[in-house]
Symmetry: none
Subunit: 299 residues, 2 copies
DNA sequence: GTCACTATCAACATTTCGTTGATAATAACC
DNA sequence: GGTTATTATCAACGAAATGTTGATAGTGAC
Protein backbone atom coordinates (compact mmCIF):
# COMPACT_ATOMS: atom_id res chain seq x y z
CA UNK A 1 0.00 0.00 0.00
CA UNK A 2 1.19 3.47 -0.77
CA UNK A 3 0.91 5.13 2.59
CA UNK A 4 1.01 8.56 1.04
CA UNK A 5 -2.01 7.78 -1.10
CA UNK A 6 -3.71 6.35 1.95
CA UNK A 7 -2.96 9.46 3.96
CA UNK A 8 -4.17 11.63 1.14
CA UNK A 9 -7.35 9.60 0.90
CA UNK A 10 -8.02 9.90 4.60
CA UNK A 11 -7.29 13.60 4.72
CA UNK A 12 -9.50 14.22 1.73
CA UNK A 13 -12.34 12.23 3.26
CA UNK A 14 -12.12 14.32 6.39
CA UNK A 15 -11.98 17.56 4.44
CA UNK A 16 -14.78 16.67 2.07
CA UNK A 17 -16.90 15.05 4.73
CA UNK A 18 -17.84 11.98 2.74
CA UNK A 19 -16.11 9.10 1.02
CA UNK A 20 -17.91 9.66 -2.24
CA UNK A 21 -17.00 13.30 -2.59
CA UNK A 22 -13.43 12.52 -1.60
CA UNK A 23 -13.34 9.89 -4.32
CA UNK A 24 -14.59 12.45 -6.84
CA UNK A 25 -11.92 14.89 -5.84
CA UNK A 26 -9.21 12.27 -6.00
CA UNK A 27 -10.50 10.78 -9.22
CA UNK A 28 -10.84 7.32 -7.82
CA UNK A 29 -13.68 5.03 -6.93
CA UNK A 30 -15.33 5.33 -3.52
CA UNK A 31 -14.54 1.69 -2.95
CA UNK A 32 -10.87 2.41 -3.27
CA UNK A 33 -11.05 5.33 -0.89
CA UNK A 34 -12.80 3.13 1.60
CA UNK A 35 -10.17 0.46 1.14
CA UNK A 36 -7.37 2.97 1.60
CA UNK A 37 -8.79 4.34 4.81
CA UNK A 38 -9.44 0.86 6.13
CA UNK A 39 -5.89 -0.18 5.34
CA UNK A 40 -4.55 2.93 6.94
CA UNK A 41 -6.53 2.22 10.09
CA UNK A 42 -5.31 -1.35 9.99
CA UNK A 43 -1.75 -0.22 9.51
CA UNK A 44 -1.95 2.22 12.39
CA UNK A 45 -4.00 -0.10 14.50
CA UNK A 46 -6.39 2.73 15.30
CA UNK A 47 -9.84 3.60 14.21
CA UNK A 48 -9.67 7.02 12.63
CA UNK A 49 -13.27 7.49 11.61
CA UNK A 50 -16.50 6.36 13.15
CA UNK A 51 -18.76 5.89 10.22
CA UNK A 52 -22.38 5.09 9.75
CA UNK A 53 -23.59 4.58 6.25
CA UNK A 54 -24.51 8.23 6.05
CA UNK A 55 -22.10 10.11 8.22
CA UNK A 56 -18.54 10.03 9.37
CA UNK A 57 -17.03 11.31 12.58
CA UNK A 58 -13.44 11.68 13.52
CA UNK A 59 -12.17 9.81 16.50
CA UNK A 60 -9.72 11.62 18.69
CA UNK A 61 -6.88 9.66 17.14
CA UNK A 62 -8.30 10.51 13.75
CA UNK A 63 -8.41 14.19 14.54
CA UNK A 64 -4.83 14.19 15.74
CA UNK A 65 -3.71 12.13 12.77
CA UNK A 66 -5.60 14.29 10.33
CA UNK A 67 -3.91 17.45 11.40
CA UNK A 68 -0.40 16.10 11.29
CA UNK A 69 -0.93 14.04 8.16
CA UNK A 70 -2.15 17.10 6.33
CA UNK A 71 0.99 18.90 7.40
CA UNK A 72 3.15 16.06 6.14
CA UNK A 73 1.37 15.93 2.80
CA UNK A 74 1.75 19.63 2.45
CA UNK A 75 5.46 19.35 3.22
CA UNK A 76 5.93 16.73 0.57
CA UNK A 77 4.04 18.74 -1.98
CA UNK A 78 6.22 21.74 -1.22
CA UNK A 79 9.29 19.59 -1.44
CA UNK A 80 8.44 18.23 -4.83
CA UNK A 81 7.43 21.63 -6.14
CA UNK A 82 10.71 23.06 -4.99
CA UNK A 83 12.66 20.32 -6.72
CA UNK A 84 10.57 20.87 -9.81
CA UNK A 85 11.27 24.59 -9.78
CA UNK A 86 14.93 23.90 -9.34
CA UNK A 87 14.65 21.85 -12.45
CA UNK A 88 12.60 24.04 -14.72
CA UNK A 89 14.11 27.39 -13.86
CA UNK A 90 17.75 26.41 -14.15
CA UNK A 91 19.07 27.59 -10.85
CA UNK A 92 21.62 26.52 -8.35
CA UNK A 93 25.38 26.40 -8.32
CA UNK A 94 27.04 25.16 -11.48
CA UNK A 95 30.46 23.72 -10.78
CA UNK A 96 32.72 23.68 -13.80
CA UNK A 97 36.19 22.33 -14.20
CA UNK A 98 38.19 23.71 -17.13
CA UNK A 99 41.71 23.71 -18.50
CA UNK A 100 43.68 26.63 -17.15
CA UNK A 101 44.99 28.29 -20.29
CA UNK A 102 41.76 27.85 -22.18
CA UNK A 103 39.60 29.18 -19.41
CA UNK A 104 41.76 32.21 -18.82
CA UNK A 105 41.36 33.23 -22.43
CA UNK A 106 37.92 32.14 -23.46
CA UNK A 107 35.65 31.42 -20.53
CA UNK A 108 35.10 34.83 -18.99
CA UNK A 109 32.86 36.36 -21.66
CA UNK A 110 31.01 33.09 -22.14
CA UNK A 111 30.22 32.76 -18.44
CA UNK A 112 29.23 36.37 -18.22
CA UNK A 113 26.75 35.99 -21.06
CA UNK A 114 25.52 32.70 -19.64
CA UNK A 115 24.79 34.27 -16.29
CA UNK A 116 22.91 37.09 -17.93
CA UNK A 117 20.74 34.54 -19.69
CA UNK A 118 20.28 32.46 -16.52
CA UNK A 119 20.31 34.76 -13.52
CA UNK A 120 19.43 31.92 -11.16
CA UNK A 121 22.61 30.04 -11.80
CA UNK A 122 25.72 30.67 -9.76
CA UNK A 123 29.05 29.57 -11.17
CA UNK A 124 32.01 27.94 -9.54
CA UNK A 125 34.79 27.67 -12.11
CA UNK A 126 37.74 25.60 -11.05
CA UNK A 127 40.78 25.76 -13.29
CA UNK A 128 42.70 22.57 -13.47
CA UNK A 129 44.60 20.78 -16.16
CA UNK A 130 44.58 17.33 -14.66
CA UNK A 131 41.65 15.03 -15.23
CA UNK A 132 39.34 15.75 -12.38
CA UNK A 133 36.93 13.09 -11.24
CA UNK A 134 33.57 14.61 -11.96
CA UNK A 135 31.66 12.58 -9.47
CA UNK A 136 34.28 12.41 -6.79
CA UNK A 137 34.94 16.12 -6.76
CA UNK A 138 31.38 17.15 -7.32
CA UNK A 139 31.62 18.86 -10.67
CA UNK A 140 28.57 19.25 -12.82
CA UNK A 141 30.56 19.52 -15.99
CA UNK A 142 34.21 19.47 -17.01
CA UNK A 143 35.74 20.94 -20.12
CA UNK A 144 38.52 18.80 -21.48
CA UNK A 145 40.86 19.01 -24.38
CA UNK A 146 42.11 15.92 -26.12
CA UNK A 147 40.92 12.78 -27.76
CA UNK A 148 38.50 11.28 -25.28
CA UNK A 149 38.50 7.61 -24.56
CA UNK A 150 35.17 6.02 -24.06
CA UNK A 151 33.93 5.96 -20.52
CA UNK A 152 30.70 5.99 -18.63
CA UNK A 153 30.66 9.75 -18.95
CA UNK A 154 29.00 11.68 -21.70
CA UNK A 155 31.32 13.87 -23.75
CA UNK A 156 29.98 16.45 -26.13
CA UNK A 157 32.37 17.96 -28.65
CA UNK A 158 32.24 21.72 -28.39
CA UNK A 159 34.99 22.95 -30.67
CA UNK A 160 38.01 21.69 -32.58
CA UNK A 161 41.38 22.42 -31.04
CA UNK A 162 44.13 22.82 -33.63
CA UNK A 163 47.68 22.25 -32.55
CA UNK A 164 50.30 24.22 -34.42
CA UNK A 165 54.07 24.07 -34.21
CA UNK A 166 55.23 27.61 -33.61
CA UNK A 167 58.35 29.54 -32.90
CA UNK A 168 59.40 33.16 -32.82
CA UNK A 169 60.52 34.55 -36.18
CA UNK A 170 63.78 35.68 -34.56
CA UNK A 171 64.40 32.20 -33.25
CA UNK A 172 63.83 30.73 -36.67
CA UNK A 173 66.12 33.22 -38.25
CA UNK A 174 68.88 32.26 -35.85
CA UNK A 175 68.32 28.49 -35.81
CA UNK A 176 66.80 27.83 -39.20
CA UNK A 177 63.22 27.04 -40.15
CA UNK A 178 62.51 23.29 -40.15
CA UNK A 179 60.87 22.03 -43.31
CA UNK A 180 60.65 18.37 -42.38
CA UNK A 181 60.27 16.51 -39.15
CA UNK A 182 63.91 15.52 -39.20
CA UNK A 183 64.84 19.17 -39.23
CA UNK A 184 63.52 19.46 -35.69
CA UNK A 185 66.53 17.53 -34.48
CA UNK A 186 68.67 19.73 -32.34
CA UNK A 187 66.03 22.39 -31.80
CA UNK A 188 64.95 23.40 -28.34
CA UNK A 189 61.47 22.01 -27.68
CA UNK A 190 59.06 23.67 -25.25
CA UNK A 191 57.11 20.76 -23.89
CA UNK A 192 53.69 20.79 -22.30
CA UNK A 193 53.55 18.34 -19.41
CA UNK A 194 50.09 16.95 -19.93
CA UNK A 195 50.24 16.58 -23.68
CA UNK A 196 48.60 13.46 -25.03
CA UNK A 197 50.74 11.97 -27.74
CA UNK A 198 48.99 9.91 -30.37
CA UNK A 199 51.37 7.61 -32.17
CA UNK A 200 49.21 7.62 -35.30
CA UNK A 201 50.20 11.23 -35.86
CA UNK A 202 53.68 11.55 -37.44
CA UNK A 203 54.56 14.65 -35.50
CA UNK A 204 53.49 13.10 -32.25
CA UNK A 205 55.47 9.96 -33.04
CA UNK A 206 58.55 11.99 -33.67
CA UNK A 207 58.09 13.90 -30.40
CA UNK A 208 57.52 10.68 -28.58
CA UNK A 209 60.80 9.30 -29.81
CA UNK A 210 62.93 12.39 -29.80
CA UNK A 211 61.33 15.17 -27.87
CA UNK A 212 60.78 13.58 -24.53
CA UNK A 213 64.14 13.45 -22.91
CA UNK A 214 65.95 16.33 -24.49
CA UNK A 215 67.76 18.31 -21.96
CA UNK A 216 68.10 21.51 -23.90
CA UNK A 217 64.36 22.26 -23.94
CA UNK A 218 61.86 23.34 -21.37
CA UNK A 219 58.82 21.76 -19.81
CA UNK A 220 55.83 23.32 -18.16
CA UNK A 221 52.35 22.38 -17.20
CA UNK A 222 51.15 25.77 -18.29
CA UNK A 223 50.62 26.62 -21.93
CA UNK A 224 50.87 30.37 -21.42
CA UNK A 225 54.35 30.13 -20.03
CA UNK A 226 55.40 28.04 -22.98
CA UNK A 227 53.83 30.45 -25.40
CA UNK A 228 55.56 33.42 -23.81
CA UNK A 229 58.81 31.47 -23.88
CA UNK A 230 58.33 30.74 -27.55
CA UNK A 231 57.62 34.40 -28.25
CA UNK A 232 60.79 35.24 -26.38
CA UNK A 233 62.67 32.91 -28.69
CA UNK A 234 63.21 30.07 -26.25
CA UNK A 235 62.46 27.40 -28.82
CA UNK A 236 59.81 25.55 -30.72
CA UNK A 237 56.43 24.79 -29.14
CA UNK A 238 53.49 22.64 -30.10
CA UNK A 239 50.68 24.92 -29.09
CA UNK A 240 46.94 24.93 -29.42
CA UNK A 241 45.85 27.79 -31.63
CA UNK A 242 43.45 29.11 -28.97
CA UNK A 243 46.62 30.14 -27.14
CA UNK A 244 48.95 31.05 -29.94
CA UNK A 245 46.39 32.50 -32.35
CA UNK A 246 46.74 36.16 -31.37
CA UNK A 247 50.54 35.95 -31.24
CA UNK A 248 50.54 34.38 -34.70
CA UNK A 249 48.27 37.08 -36.06
CA UNK A 250 50.49 39.70 -34.48
CA UNK A 251 53.50 38.16 -36.13
CA UNK A 252 55.16 37.33 -32.84
CA UNK A 253 54.99 33.64 -33.63
CA UNK A 254 55.34 31.80 -36.89
CA UNK A 255 53.66 28.52 -37.79
CA UNK A 256 56.02 25.93 -39.14
CA UNK A 257 55.64 22.40 -40.44
CA UNK A 258 52.01 23.16 -41.17
CA UNK A 259 51.70 20.08 -43.40
CA UNK A 260 52.52 17.91 -40.40
CA UNK A 261 49.85 19.49 -38.23
CA UNK A 262 48.09 16.68 -36.40
CA UNK A 263 44.39 16.04 -36.69
CA UNK A 264 42.65 18.61 -34.52
CA UNK A 265 41.77 17.50 -31.04
CA UNK A 266 38.56 18.58 -29.48
CA UNK A 267 37.26 20.66 -26.67
CA UNK A 268 34.74 18.47 -24.90
CA UNK A 269 32.13 19.14 -22.30
CA UNK A 270 32.05 16.10 -20.10
CA UNK A 271 29.18 15.37 -17.77
CA UNK A 272 27.77 12.46 -15.92
CA UNK A 273 24.52 11.35 -17.49
CA UNK A 274 22.42 12.18 -20.40
CA UNK A 275 19.13 11.56 -18.65
CA UNK A 276 17.73 13.49 -15.73
CA UNK A 277 20.31 16.16 -16.25
CA UNK A 278 19.89 19.16 -14.00
CA UNK A 279 18.74 21.92 -16.22
CA UNK A 280 21.50 24.24 -15.11
CA UNK A 281 23.88 21.73 -16.66
CA UNK A 282 21.79 21.20 -19.74
CA UNK A 283 21.47 24.91 -20.25
CA UNK A 284 25.20 25.36 -19.95
CA UNK A 285 25.94 22.59 -22.42
CA UNK A 286 23.46 24.07 -24.84
CA UNK A 287 24.96 27.48 -24.30
CA UNK A 288 28.59 26.59 -24.81
CA UNK A 289 27.81 24.36 -27.76
CA UNK A 290 28.31 26.51 -30.80
CA UNK A 291 29.42 29.50 -28.76
CA UNK A 292 32.96 29.47 -30.17
CA UNK A 293 31.85 28.96 -33.76
CA UNK A 294 33.19 26.52 -36.34
CA UNK A 295 35.92 27.19 -37.03
CA UNK A 296 36.34 28.83 -33.66
CA UNK A 297 36.91 32.56 -33.59
CA UNK A 298 40.52 32.21 -32.48
CA UNK A 299 41.45 30.38 -35.68
CA UNK B 1 5.52 2.94 -6.33
CA UNK B 2 5.36 3.68 -2.66
CA UNK B 3 6.94 7.08 -2.51
CA UNK B 4 7.64 6.73 1.16
CA UNK B 5 9.61 3.57 0.59
CA UNK B 6 11.40 5.30 -2.26
CA UNK B 7 12.20 8.26 -0.06
CA UNK B 8 13.37 5.98 2.68
CA UNK B 9 15.55 4.08 0.23
CA UNK B 10 17.12 7.27 -1.06
CA UNK B 11 17.72 8.71 2.38
CA UNK B 12 19.23 5.45 3.58
CA UNK B 13 21.52 5.28 0.58
CA UNK B 14 22.75 8.76 1.31
CA UNK B 15 23.24 8.04 4.98
CA UNK B 16 24.93 4.70 4.46
CA UNK B 17 26.97 5.87 1.52
CA UNK B 18 26.31 2.88 -0.70
CA UNK B 19 23.38 1.08 -2.24
CA UNK B 20 24.47 -2.26 -0.93
CA UNK B 21 24.76 -1.23 2.69
CA UNK B 22 21.48 0.63 2.43
CA UNK B 23 19.90 -2.54 1.09
CA UNK B 24 21.28 -4.49 4.05
CA UNK B 25 19.88 -2.00 6.47
CA UNK B 26 16.49 -1.98 4.79
CA UNK B 27 16.45 -5.74 4.33
CA UNK B 28 15.94 -5.60 0.63
CA UNK B 29 18.01 -6.40 -2.41
CA UNK B 30 20.42 -3.80 -3.77
CA UNK B 31 18.66 -4.08 -7.09
CA UNK B 32 15.46 -2.95 -5.50
CA UNK B 33 17.09 -0.02 -3.78
CA UNK B 34 18.56 0.99 -7.10
CA UNK B 35 15.18 0.68 -8.73
CA UNK B 36 13.54 2.76 -6.02
CA UNK B 37 16.02 5.56 -6.31
CA UNK B 38 15.78 5.53 -10.07
CA UNK B 39 12.01 5.72 -9.90
CA UNK B 40 12.18 8.52 -7.42
CA UNK B 41 14.48 10.43 -9.71
CA UNK B 42 12.19 9.73 -12.61
CA UNK B 43 9.22 10.88 -10.60
CA UNK B 44 10.93 14.10 -9.58
CA UNK B 45 12.55 14.58 -12.96
CA UNK B 46 15.88 15.30 -11.32
CA UNK B 47 18.99 13.28 -10.81
CA UNK B 48 19.57 13.02 -7.09
CA UNK B 49 22.75 11.00 -7.04
CA UNK B 50 25.71 10.91 -9.37
CA UNK B 51 26.93 7.39 -9.12
CA UNK B 52 29.88 5.53 -10.51
CA UNK B 53 29.93 1.82 -9.97
CA UNK B 54 31.90 2.36 -6.79
CA UNK B 55 30.80 5.60 -5.29
CA UNK B 56 27.86 7.89 -5.02
CA UNK B 57 27.70 11.63 -4.68
CA UNK B 58 24.77 13.90 -4.05
CA UNK B 59 23.75 16.37 -6.67
CA UNK B 60 22.60 19.75 -5.53
CA UNK B 61 18.99 18.75 -5.91
CA UNK B 62 19.75 15.52 -4.10
CA UNK B 63 21.25 17.32 -1.14
CA UNK B 64 18.26 19.60 -0.81
CA UNK B 65 15.86 16.71 -1.21
CA UNK B 66 17.73 14.54 1.24
CA UNK B 67 17.49 17.00 4.04
CA UNK B 68 13.81 17.66 3.73
CA UNK B 69 12.89 14.10 2.94
CA UNK B 70 14.59 12.93 6.08
CA UNK B 71 12.58 15.46 8.00
CA UNK B 72 9.35 14.24 6.47
CA UNK B 73 10.18 10.61 7.17
CA UNK B 74 10.97 11.50 10.72
CA UNK B 75 7.67 13.32 11.07
CA UNK B 76 5.77 10.35 9.81
CA UNK B 77 7.59 7.99 12.09
CA UNK B 78 6.78 10.19 15.04
CA UNK B 79 3.20 10.42 13.95
CA UNK B 80 2.77 6.70 13.67
CA UNK B 81 4.56 6.03 16.91
CA UNK B 82 2.27 8.39 18.72
CA UNK B 83 -0.80 6.83 17.22
CA UNK B 84 0.64 3.39 17.76
CA UNK B 85 1.27 4.02 21.43
CA UNK B 86 -2.28 5.10 21.79
CA UNK B 87 -3.29 1.83 20.36
CA UNK B 88 -0.86 -0.74 21.63
CA UNK B 89 -2.14 -0.20 25.13
CA UNK B 90 -5.77 -0.37 24.12
CA UNK B 91 -6.44 -3.59 25.88
CA UNK B 92 -7.56 -4.75 29.24
CA UNK B 93 -10.86 -4.41 31.02
CA UNK B 94 -12.85 -1.27 30.48
CA UNK B 95 -15.24 -0.57 33.35
CA UNK B 96 -18.14 1.60 32.37
CA UNK B 97 -20.94 2.99 34.46
CA UNK B 98 -24.03 4.08 32.56
CA UNK B 99 -27.63 5.13 33.22
CA UNK B 100 -29.94 2.16 33.23
CA UNK B 101 -32.59 3.16 30.77
CA UNK B 102 -30.17 4.66 28.34
CA UNK B 103 -27.79 1.74 28.40
CA UNK B 104 -30.51 -0.82 27.90
CA UNK B 105 -31.63 0.90 24.75
CA UNK B 106 -28.51 2.31 23.17
CA UNK B 107 -25.35 0.75 24.52
CA UNK B 108 -25.50 -2.79 23.21
CA UNK B 109 -24.81 -2.13 19.52
CA UNK B 110 -22.22 0.49 20.37
CA UNK B 111 -20.33 -1.83 22.67
CA UNK B 112 -20.54 -4.61 20.18
CA UNK B 113 -19.02 -2.46 17.44
CA UNK B 114 -16.46 -1.11 19.83
CA UNK B 115 -15.32 -4.56 20.76
CA UNK B 116 -15.06 -5.50 17.12
CA UNK B 117 -12.85 -2.50 16.59
CA UNK B 118 -10.85 -3.19 19.73
CA UNK B 119 -10.70 -6.91 20.25
CA UNK B 120 -8.21 -6.51 23.06
CA UNK B 121 -10.61 -4.62 25.27
CA UNK B 122 -12.97 -6.40 27.59
CA UNK B 123 -16.02 -4.57 28.87
CA UNK B 124 -17.65 -4.44 32.26
CA UNK B 125 -20.81 -2.39 31.98
CA UNK B 126 -22.47 -1.49 35.25
CA UNK B 127 -25.92 0.02 35.03
CA UNK B 128 -26.63 2.51 37.70
CA UNK B 129 -28.59 5.71 37.88
CA UNK B 130 -26.99 7.15 40.93
CA UNK B 131 -23.81 9.13 40.66
CA UNK B 132 -21.08 6.60 41.09
CA UNK B 133 -17.70 7.65 42.38
CA UNK B 134 -15.38 6.94 39.51
CA UNK B 135 -12.22 6.56 41.52
CA UNK B 136 -13.76 4.97 44.58
CA UNK B 137 -15.58 2.29 42.64
CA UNK B 138 -12.88 1.79 40.03
CA UNK B 139 -14.70 2.89 36.89
CA UNK B 140 -12.73 3.99 33.87
CA UNK B 141 -15.55 6.04 32.50
CA UNK B 142 -19.09 6.94 33.44
CA UNK B 143 -21.87 8.06 31.17
CA UNK B 144 -24.07 10.63 32.81
CA UNK B 145 -27.11 12.53 31.78
CA UNK B 146 -27.80 16.01 33.01
CA UNK B 147 -26.22 19.39 33.31
CA UNK B 148 -22.83 18.71 34.74
CA UNK B 149 -21.44 20.84 37.45
CA UNK B 150 -17.77 21.57 37.27
CA UNK B 151 -15.62 19.08 39.04
CA UNK B 152 -12.14 17.66 38.86
CA UNK B 153 -13.38 15.16 36.35
CA UNK B 154 -13.32 15.60 32.60
CA UNK B 155 -16.73 15.52 31.00
CA UNK B 156 -17.06 15.25 27.26
CA UNK B 157 -20.46 15.95 25.79
CA UNK B 158 -21.48 13.04 23.65
CA UNK B 159 -25.04 13.82 22.62
CA UNK B 160 -27.90 16.14 23.48
CA UNK B 161 -30.67 14.68 25.60
CA UNK B 162 -34.06 16.24 24.92
CA UNK B 163 -36.71 16.06 27.59
CA UNK B 164 -40.28 16.00 26.40
CA UNK B 165 -43.50 16.09 28.36
CA UNK B 166 -45.53 13.14 27.18
CA UNK B 167 -48.74 11.35 27.90
CA UNK B 168 -50.87 8.72 26.26
CA UNK B 169 -53.48 10.07 23.79
CA UNK B 170 -56.23 8.22 25.66
CA UNK B 171 -55.19 9.84 28.93
CA UNK B 172 -55.28 13.25 27.33
CA UNK B 173 -58.71 12.63 25.85
CA UNK B 174 -60.05 11.73 29.26
CA UNK B 175 -58.24 14.40 31.26
CA UNK B 176 -57.74 17.13 28.75
CA UNK B 177 -54.60 18.28 26.94
CA UNK B 178 -52.69 20.93 28.90
CA UNK B 179 -51.82 23.99 26.83
CA UNK B 180 -50.12 26.00 29.54
CA UNK B 181 -48.11 25.12 32.59
CA UNK B 182 -51.04 25.95 34.83
CA UNK B 183 -53.10 23.33 33.03
CA UNK B 184 -50.89 20.67 34.59
CA UNK B 185 -52.55 21.34 37.93
CA UNK B 186 -54.48 18.29 38.99
CA UNK B 187 -52.87 15.97 36.47
CA UNK B 188 -51.17 12.83 37.63
CA UNK B 189 -47.38 13.28 37.29
CA UNK B 190 -45.04 10.34 36.79
CA UNK B 191 -41.90 11.40 38.58
CA UNK B 192 -38.37 10.21 38.06
CA UNK B 193 -36.54 10.01 41.37
CA UNK B 194 -33.17 11.29 40.30
CA UNK B 195 -34.35 14.14 38.15
CA UNK B 196 -32.27 17.27 38.36
CA UNK B 197 -34.50 20.28 38.42
CA UNK B 198 -33.10 23.51 37.12
CA UNK B 199 -35.03 26.50 38.38
CA UNK B 200 -34.10 28.57 35.34
CA UNK B 201 -36.38 26.39 33.24
CA UNK B 202 -40.05 27.37 33.64
CA UNK B 203 -41.28 23.80 33.43
CA UNK B 204 -38.79 22.65 36.03
CA UNK B 205 -39.72 25.52 38.30
CA UNK B 206 -43.35 24.58 38.09
CA UNK B 207 -42.58 20.96 38.88
CA UNK B 208 -40.39 22.00 41.77
CA UNK B 209 -43.23 23.97 43.28
CA UNK B 210 -46.19 21.83 42.39
CA UNK B 211 -45.10 18.39 41.30
CA UNK B 212 -43.04 17.22 44.21
CA UNK B 213 -45.42 16.29 46.91
CA UNK B 214 -48.53 15.41 45.03
CA UNK B 215 -49.97 12.18 46.21
CA UNK B 216 -51.94 11.22 43.16
CA UNK B 217 -48.85 10.63 40.97
CA UNK B 218 -46.22 8.00 40.84
CA UNK B 219 -42.45 7.96 41.43
CA UNK B 220 -39.79 5.61 40.22
CA UNK B 221 -36.06 5.48 39.81
CA UNK B 222 -36.49 3.75 36.47
CA UNK B 223 -37.49 5.62 33.35
CA UNK B 224 -38.77 2.59 31.52
CA UNK B 225 -41.34 1.90 34.17
CA UNK B 226 -42.52 5.50 34.00
CA UNK B 227 -42.70 5.39 30.23
CA UNK B 228 -44.72 2.19 30.27
CA UNK B 229 -46.95 3.73 32.89
CA UNK B 230 -47.45 6.78 30.72
CA UNK B 231 -48.26 4.61 27.72
CA UNK B 232 -50.78 2.81 29.89
CA UNK B 233 -52.43 6.13 30.66
CA UNK B 234 -51.18 6.53 34.19
CA UNK B 235 -50.41 10.19 33.76
CA UNK B 236 -48.02 12.76 32.42
CA UNK B 237 -44.28 12.14 32.35
CA UNK B 238 -41.23 14.26 31.65
CA UNK B 239 -39.19 11.83 29.63
CA UNK B 240 -35.96 11.91 27.70
CA UNK B 241 -36.62 11.29 24.04
CA UNK B 242 -34.12 8.45 23.91
CA UNK B 243 -36.69 6.55 25.95
CA UNK B 244 -39.92 7.92 24.62
CA UNK B 245 -38.86 8.40 21.01
CA UNK B 246 -40.10 5.10 19.62
CA UNK B 247 -43.36 5.30 21.57
CA UNK B 248 -43.92 8.82 20.26
CA UNK B 249 -43.21 7.73 16.71
CA UNK B 250 -45.56 4.82 17.21
CA UNK B 251 -48.27 7.17 18.43
CA UNK B 252 -48.48 5.58 21.83
CA UNK B 253 -47.37 8.78 23.44
CA UNK B 254 -48.07 12.35 22.57
CA UNK B 255 -45.76 15.28 23.18
CA UNK B 256 -47.43 18.17 24.95
CA UNK B 257 -46.34 21.58 26.07
CA UNK B 258 -43.57 21.42 23.43
CA UNK B 259 -43.01 25.15 23.70
CA UNK B 260 -42.05 24.67 27.34
CA UNK B 261 -39.51 22.00 26.53
CA UNK B 262 -36.42 22.69 28.61
CA UNK B 263 -33.02 23.25 27.08
CA UNK B 264 -31.63 19.86 26.17
CA UNK B 265 -29.42 18.23 28.73
CA UNK B 266 -26.43 16.29 27.67
CA UNK B 267 -25.11 12.79 27.70
CA UNK B 268 -21.61 13.10 29.05
CA UNK B 269 -18.70 10.75 29.19
CA UNK B 270 -16.96 11.42 32.46
CA UNK B 271 -13.45 10.25 33.12
CA UNK B 272 -10.58 11.06 35.37
CA UNK B 273 -7.97 13.05 33.49
CA UNK B 274 -7.21 13.99 29.99
CA UNK B 275 -3.52 13.26 29.99
CA UNK B 276 -1.98 9.84 30.34
CA UNK B 277 -5.34 8.38 29.66
CA UNK B 278 -5.27 4.63 29.24
CA UNK B 279 -5.87 4.15 25.59
CA UNK B 280 -8.74 1.76 26.14
CA UNK B 281 -10.52 4.74 27.67
CA UNK B 282 -9.37 7.15 25.03
CA UNK B 283 -10.49 4.77 22.35
CA UNK B 284 -13.87 4.40 23.95
CA UNK B 285 -14.35 8.14 24.24
CA UNK B 286 -13.31 8.55 20.63
CA UNK B 287 -15.64 5.81 19.64
CA UNK B 288 -18.75 6.98 21.44
CA UNK B 289 -18.13 10.57 20.43
CA UNK B 290 -20.21 11.14 17.38
CA UNK B 291 -21.57 7.63 17.40
CA UNK B 292 -25.13 8.71 18.08
CA UNK B 293 -25.03 11.53 15.55
CA UNK B 294 -26.18 15.09 15.96
CA UNK B 295 -29.07 15.19 16.33
CA UNK B 296 -28.95 11.66 17.72
CA UNK B 297 -30.69 8.96 15.78
CA UNK B 298 -33.47 8.55 18.33
CA UNK B 299 -34.65 12.13 17.78
C1' DG C 1 46.93 -7.09 -15.09
C1' DT C 2 43.82 -9.62 -12.22
C1' DC C 3 40.39 -9.77 -8.78
C1' DA C 4 36.68 -8.32 -5.86
C1' DC C 5 33.10 -5.16 -5.49
C1' DT C 6 29.38 -2.31 -7.04
C1' DA C 7 25.41 -0.52 -9.53
C1' DT C 8 22.33 -1.62 -12.98
C1' DC C 9 19.82 -4.25 -16.53
C1' DA C 10 16.57 -7.97 -17.93
C1' DA C 11 13.17 -11.44 -17.11
C1' DC C 12 9.93 -13.85 -14.47
C1' DA C 13 6.55 -15.42 -10.76
C1' DT C 14 3.96 -13.52 -7.31
C1' DT C 15 1.58 -10.15 -5.13
C1' DT C 16 -1.04 -6.25 -5.02
C1' DC C 17 -3.96 -2.84 -7.06
C1' DG C 18 -8.06 -0.74 -8.78
C1' DT C 19 -12.08 -1.65 -11.18
C1' DT C 20 -16.88 -3.60 -11.48
C1' DG C 21 -21.08 -5.45 -9.58
C1' DA C 22 -23.58 -6.50 -5.39
C1' DT C 23 -25.23 -5.69 -0.52
C1' DA C 24 -26.64 -3.66 3.89
C1' DA C 25 -27.85 0.38 6.09
C1' DT C 26 -29.62 4.88 6.50
C1' DA C 27 -31.52 9.54 5.48
C1' DA C 28 -34.95 11.85 2.72
C1' DC C 29 -39.04 12.05 0.26
C1' DC C 30 -43.78 11.34 -1.04
C1' DG D 1 -45.34 4.40 6.72
C1' DG D 2 -43.38 2.81 2.80
C1' DT D 3 -40.40 3.85 -1.03
C1' DT D 4 -36.39 5.91 -3.16
C1' DA D 5 -31.80 7.49 -3.33
C1' DT D 6 -27.54 7.79 -1.24
C1' DT D 7 -23.69 5.84 1.17
C1' DA D 8 -20.09 2.77 2.80
C1' DT D 9 -18.45 -1.66 2.31
C1' DC D 10 -17.79 -6.49 0.59
C1' DA D 11 -16.43 -9.90 -3.04
C1' DA D 12 -14.15 -11.07 -7.18
C1' DC D 13 -11.74 -10.53 -11.23
C1' DG D 14 -8.33 -8.82 -14.72
C1' DA D 15 -4.39 -5.83 -14.95
C1' DA D 16 -0.31 -3.87 -13.36
C1' DA D 17 3.12 -3.56 -10.09
C1' DT D 18 6.44 -5.57 -7.07
C1' DG D 19 10.58 -7.95 -5.62
C1' DT D 20 13.23 -11.83 -6.67
C1' DT D 21 17.09 -14.10 -9.45
C1' DG D 22 20.81 -14.21 -12.77
C1' DA D 23 23.68 -11.51 -15.84
C1' DT D 24 26.60 -7.41 -17.23
C1' DA D 25 29.67 -3.54 -17.20
C1' DG D 26 32.41 -0.22 -14.79
C1' DT D 27 35.78 0.70 -11.04
C1' DG D 28 39.16 0.60 -7.36
C1' DA D 29 42.59 -2.33 -4.93
C1' DC D 30 46.13 -5.63 -4.77
Amino acid sequence: MDRLDAMRAFVTVVNEGTFTRAADRLNMSPQLVSKYVSRLEEHLGVRLLNRTTRQIHLTEAGASYHQRAQQVLHDIEDLECQIGDLQTEARGMLRISAPVSFAIRHMAPLLSEFQQAHPGVGIDLQLNDRKVDLVEEGFDVALRIGHLKSSSLIAKRIAPIRMAVVAAPDYLKQNGTPQKLEDLQGHRYLRYSYIELDSSQPLHRWLQNNGQNDSNGMTSNNGDVLMEAAVAGAGIALQPTFISGPAIKAGKLQVILQEYEPEPMGLYAVYAHRQLLASKVRSFIDFIDGYFGDPPYWD
